[in-house]
Amino acid sequence: MKSLLIACLAALPLLAAPQQFHLNLDSVAAKASDHVEVSLNASTLQFAAKFLDSSDPDEAKVKKLIVGIEGIYVRHFEFKSAGAWSEADLEPIRAQLRGPEWSKIVGFASSEDGENAEIWLRTVDKKPAGVAIIATEAKEVTVVNIAGSIDLESLAELGGHFGVPKVNPPDKPHKDE
């Protein structure tokens, strides 16, 4: 099982698709002190890729990683106090992931710090077609949908390079959905 989990984190050639589920998180947003919304479709990703500097290690990795991604949609919420959000707030997302195309491939839950993370894979015609990521902490909720082809192993490596993400919200969110 463990080797299967690692295998699932290896390169996953995913097929192209637009946003694959509704990120209807209004109840979470209402309770959050800060939130970041990023919605990037394929054309915006391709446009951005032209401005990524290959001589910068992180940007070079991202440039390589986004080849084949058809869209990336992120909602990140931060709360002033623990317990400000509940699992019920994520139910609209989980309900969609219970559909036949989605299957949870890996996840972990830490009882110590209340940290949870899970990765869901969408398959269409027996082929991987997208990824959903739900990550929660006492004061943070992150939901991600990546449509298209992405190498999860490389994405994980990128997370190691970036370390703890610093959230600098853009002036205005992109709405390319």
């Binding site: 915006t44 446009f47 990765i119 991600v144 997370g159 853009p170």
Partner: protein, 91 residues
């Protein structure tokens, strides 16, 4: 030498220009310089527009790049966390 003096006097004698000649010359010269000015203005506008378009494209590109980097930071952190947990379990 009288014939030569007569010829020179005749050749160099002041002659009045035809009616409206001066106006026609002034009108033509004015039209020419106005056209040149228009071309110069148009060329300058094209250069300015191209420069502004390039600067705007650069600005938009940098904005898009920042959003991609932010999205990747937020998406990669939990995947890295899961990978670390799974590797920790298997070792």
């Amino acid at each position: 030498m009288d014939w030569l003096e007569d010829e020179l006097r005749r050749a160099l004698a002041r002659q009045e220009s035809p009616d409206g000649f001066a106006d026609r010359v002034l009108a033509r010269s004015g039209r020419g310089s106005s056209g040149a000015r228009r071309w110069l203005a148009a060329a300058a506008m094209v250069v300015v527009a191209a420069g502004a378009g390039g600067a705007w494209r650069q600005h938009e590109g940098n904005e898009a790049k920042q959003e991609v980097m932010l999205a990747m930071r937020l998406a990669s952190a939990p995947v890295h966390r899961i990978q670390s947990e799974v590797r920790g379990m298997t070792q």
